[in-house]
């Protein structure tokens, strides 16, 4: 009853692009998790793959960015993080 309860969740936004977006059938998902849980980028990837099984059919490497920075290793996510699932890029 001290108002703390309202903060006891973590919100993570997942963004999908190009082939990943097409396979997922949506541009984004929002995940709400209990704050006592430790959620990593790998955990989020598993949740996304479970929610969108068509992703397993993609024969491309998917990179992950957190708040617009590419992450090469698994990291712990925080409330409000924006996590993007990025296929190989090609500008020009």
């Amino acid at each position: 009853m001290n108002g703390k309860m309202q903060c006891d969740i973590i919100r993570i936004k997942a963004l999908y692009f190009a082939q990943v977006r097409e396979a997922a059938g949506t541009t984004s998902d929002e995940f709400t998790l209990p704050s006592e849980s430790t959620v990593t980028t790998e955990d989020l990837f598993s949740k996304v793959a479970e929610m969108h099984p068509q992703l397993s059919e993609l024969s491309i490497a998917i990179q992950i960015s957190v708040n617009r920075k590419i992450v090469q290793t698994t990291i712990v996510l925080n409330d409000g993080d924006e996590v993007a699932f990025l296929p190989p890029v090609m500008g020009g």
């Binding site: 963004l15 692009f17 490497a61 990179q63 296929p87 890029v89 090609m90 500008g91 020009g92």
Partner: protein, 144 residues
Amino acid sequence: MSKIALKRITDDEIRPDEIIESVKDTGAGAVVLFLGTVRDFGNLGKVVGMYYESYVSMAEECLRGIENEILQRKPIKHATIVHRIGELSLGDISMAVCVSAPHRKEAFEACEYAVEKIKSSIPIWKKEKLTNGKESWVRGHNLS
């Protein structure tokens, strides 16, 4: 830095005159402008158009990063990079890189450097639209 506030990632047609204006400088004896345009053939044959998609906020940060990197290669005066997204037709300008410098050599080099970086280090994806009605994402690179 570009002198005019242009959007780096845009849905709008790219206007070369605006881009050139953004790098003008009385100390520059050279302005190099590169335009990427949609051509009528690709990896899988004849192409009728191209679709570009981007993670806009990240791509804008990356493009500004490349501009700043170029500006540190003295004596570059100004640099502007703009990339278009959405549905493009044959001949449409998909991207523009414009650099001003006192002399042509450094302007050419900086422009080419930026173009190569854009190909492989910006979250942009493109899909070829083929004459047979099929569509195909162009194979790309991992971001570093």
